[in-house]
């Protein structure tokens, strides 16, 4: 039988960073094929290529044996490929029916919109999907689970026979998950091939016929479900050479700086109801606590709550230096001595219009003032220290920040925070999108800061990073702490199992 999709040596680089390299595997018609991998393993990139979002890549994709050259998503749609993104693509103000037929509106002989026909057909499609809702309701008024079925209905109306679903259950309630399972079964009866992107093991083993594992942009294995176990799959997901850094020898653990007790952060609009539930942790001076967890597990929310940047609706207790604190603005946290390097440098950290010095000095401008006015020489003096300490490579303090490499930009941001003389440093996935060499330098920097007495909480989507740096590792899964490891106990396998909820204590 001809495979319905064949990847042949597919590769893709983003600005020099390899996202995919030489990926080759096949998908047979009518099967449900799970694609597993850690954050950054290349799943999304591969699916973007398959759905025509990315069209400059190496290698070849054959659909039903014919090499495909999609110039855009329309070409992929015409080839019968539909993708249900994790972030749904609906026009919330338009009705369900209008969303299904967006861009392919039905018309009356007079050329006017034929709403009646569209609503009739939309209603029929939705009914097939166990979603008997009024097609005139605006999409924005629907629950997430129904919105997702709306997207599936759209795919059906396009007569797609290849359906890609990216983390389809991440925002669903249990009943909605059960309904989705039945919908998937029904689609398969109609001969639809389903690609399931997920890192939840229970889902993989409940739904998929075959499983492909990607790791660091490479194809690891494609196996039948019957011949493997969740343990083996998680093992393949993480099983890379552990980075040969080991920084945690002989750090002197000092006094307790931070205590978090029973922290719960509600999330009213989500079926789960909380972003964080009953999270407790300790942080001592001279110690690095690592927080592991998949995307959406609540890592960022945990740090933001401590830093006073989250919605102030949380309950529980945060003690800093033994005193209860409740920061409502990052300013309060800065003044108290807590600094946070945010995830997503570009969106939350950098000021692209300001130069290197201005980017760094932002938290220490008070010291650059003489007679009420900013002094250029003082500002240069203020930033000289952090720039030296973090070893930023730049042509000078007045170079454009956008001209620096990702690693050097990140050092600038860490340098900015050193100016508030923090005692606790929160690092949210600090090495994301940074090349290997720069990562090692950042590891050394973080280790050095810690040895100087800083308490560090580090989150990362890369387990080897946590294993190399952290004294203790806590694992978050869906807003709860599911495991805590000392450095000696922690292995990638055990962390991944706790993070995917595979064999985690519930």
């Amino acid at each position: 039988m001809t495979p319905i999709i064949a990847f042949r040596g597919v590769g893709k680089r983003f600005a020099g960073v390899v996202a995919l390299a030489d990926v080759a595997f096949e998908i047979m018609p009518g099967e449900c094929h799970a694609i597993c991998g850690e954050n950054g393993a290349g799943k999304s990139t591969l699916m973007k290529i398959l759905s025509g979002v990315i069209n400059d890549y190496d290698g070849e994709i054959a659909i039903r044996g014919v090499p495909a050259a999609f110039r855009g998503t329309r070409d992929a749609e015409a080839a019968g490929i539909a993708i249900i993104h994790q972030e749904l693509n609906l026009v919330e103000q338009l009705s369900a029916a209008a969303n299904i037929f967006l861009g392919r509106e039905k018309r009356t002989p007079l050329g006017l919109l034929d709403n009646a026909a569209m609503e009739r057909e939309a209603g029929a499609l939705l009914a097939q999907l166990e979603c008997p809702l009024d097609p005139r309701i605006p999409a924005g008024a629907l629950r997430v689970g129904d919105q997702q079925l709306l997207e599936i209905a759209k795919a059906l109306s396009l007569e797609s026979d290849i359906l890609i679903m990216d983390e389809p259950t991440s925002a669903l309630t249990e009943t909605e998950v059960a309904r989705l399972d039945r919908v998937i079964a029904r689609l398969r009866q109609r001969g639809v091939t389903i690609l399931l992107i997920t890192h939840k093991m229970d889902e993989v083993f409940r739904l998929a016929d075959r499983i492909t594992v990607l790791r660091d942009g490479r194809h690891v294995k494609s196996v039948d479900r019957g011949t493997t176990t969740p343990r083996e799959i998680t093992g393949w997901m993480v099983g890379r050479e552990i980075a040969d850094h080991d920084f945690h020898g002989k750090r002197a653990r000092g006094a307790r700086l931070l205590e978090v007790r029973g922290l719960t952060l509600p999330w009213p609009e989500h079926p789960r109801g909380y972003r964080l539930k009953d999270v407790s942790l300790d942080l001592h001076a001279g110690e690095i606590v690592g927080i592991a967890g998949l995307m959406g597990a609540g890592r960022t929310e945990l740090l933001e709550t401590i830093f006073g940047a989250a919605e102030p609706t949380w309950t529980g207790e945060i003690l800093f230096d033994g005193r209860p604190v409740r920061f409502t603005h990052p300013k309060d946290a800065c003044d108290a001595g807590i600094a946070m390097v945010t995830e997503d440098r570009k969106r939350l950290g950098l000021f692209p219009d300001l130069d290197v010095a201005a980017n760094v000095s932002l938290c220490g401008l008070r010291d650059a003032v003489r007679g009420g006015l900013l002094s250029r020489t003082r500002e240069e003096a203020v930033v000289a220290g952090p720039l030296r300490e973090t070893a930023v490579k730049t042509s000078g303090p007045h170079a454009a920040i956008t001209g620096l490499s990702g690693g050097n930009q990140q050092k600038c941001i860490i340098g900015r925070w050193l100016l508030v003389k923090p005692r606790v440093l929160l690092l949210d996935d600090p090495t994301r999108g940074i090349d290997v060499g720069a990562k090692a330098e950042l590891y050394q920097l973080i280790d050095r800061l810690c040895r100087n007495g800083l308490g560090v909480i580090l989150t990362s989507s890369e387990l080897p990073e946590l294993l190399a740096l952290a004294d203790r590792i806590l694992v978050l899964a869906e807003g709860r702490l599911t495991a805590a490891f000392s450095r000696a106990e922690a292995t990638e396998q055990a962390i991944m199992e706790a993070a995917t909820g595979g064999q985690a204590p519930r």
């Binding site: 300013k331 945010t342 692209p352 130069d355 900013l374 900015r416």
Partner: protein, 412 residues
Amino acid sequence: MNLSGTSGGGWRLPRHELALLGAIVLVFVGTGWLDPNHTYFANWAESRDIILRNTALLGIIALGAAVVIIAGGIDLSAGSMVAFSATTCALLLALFSDVDDKRLVTVPPLGIAAAIGGAMLSGLLVGTLHTWLITSIRLPPFVATLATLVGLRSFARAMCLFVTKERWGSESQQINVNTPFFGWLKEHNVSISTGTFLVLAVVTWLILSRTVLGRHLYALGGNEQATRLSGIRTENVKWFAYCYGSLTAALAGVFLMADSSVAQPGNLARGYELNAIAAAVVGGCSLQGGIGTVTGTVLGALFLRLVIDAVSKLIKASADVYEGMIVGIIVALAVTLTQFSQLTKAGRTLFPGYRGLAAIPTIATFAGLLAVMGSANVEAFRGRTGLLGLAVGGGVLLLLFAIRGAEGRGTS
């Protein structure tokens, strides 16, 4: 980055400012030469006063607009703020003068101080209102200041009717101001408003380039989230920005009232907010926020007023009719030119597909009609305006088709 001059040291004018400076010289010399009366050379003093006064009034408001725009916001209410402040000023004068003095000839010094202080205070109040609407109610700046643009003028008119009725027994849409102090302001309006403009420009430059607050304004406009996460209270920075925007408009209101010896909230300074924003944008401020300079804004205001003056001299039509067109064209051109490299890179074309095809006759028609109207009062073209219009329209049509043809070859 281009915080030119901001970084203190070397006074290096960046490209945008240099280009504006060049354009200003070009327009000046060109107008002086082409104008059949050679007014700029023959009667320089008069032209200079008109240009300076208009530039100062526009520039004062533009400096406020620039601060708001750099901070990543927008203030659409400046024109109404001018009217509101002028009315407040005149009404306070009325309250401090003798009841029989309806022309407001004698007002005690305290009354004058209170009137000017009250006008400034009205600016602070409106700026505070904007900040509250934007930061607490979470209205987009566009909506919040659109509401005050519409509402403040109406409020000022109602206030005018109410106070004149209560004070003098008869409702009036306007209040005449003949106080000697404001007469003196009017007499020296060129030097005083220009002086105020220059002082304000220096103050604004100092704030933006040499204070912590200024740095925070640039940071806020460049990346609001990151600014907050860097421990800066962005609400307070916004408070300053919107108050500065309203205060500059309030200041312009006092000058305008003095200039015309009357506060007439119905029509005073209508549309000024858009000219001020245009001046800031022509001067290099980015409506995305985070980018802009005082030098650029000052030059932008001067350039706009100069071109308006030049056109009225060359085609001998009344300036205010053509003002909107000139400002519109210059804004579009200025922003196009600053983005030109991006426009032509990435394989994009100016006239793609049917959309592009449809744009060409539109532009040509406008150009032709403009040529007909613009040449109506010019001696050299008397009786041949129709021909000129056809020639200009046809020429533009051919030129744009030629560009489109060249693009087509380039891409295929």
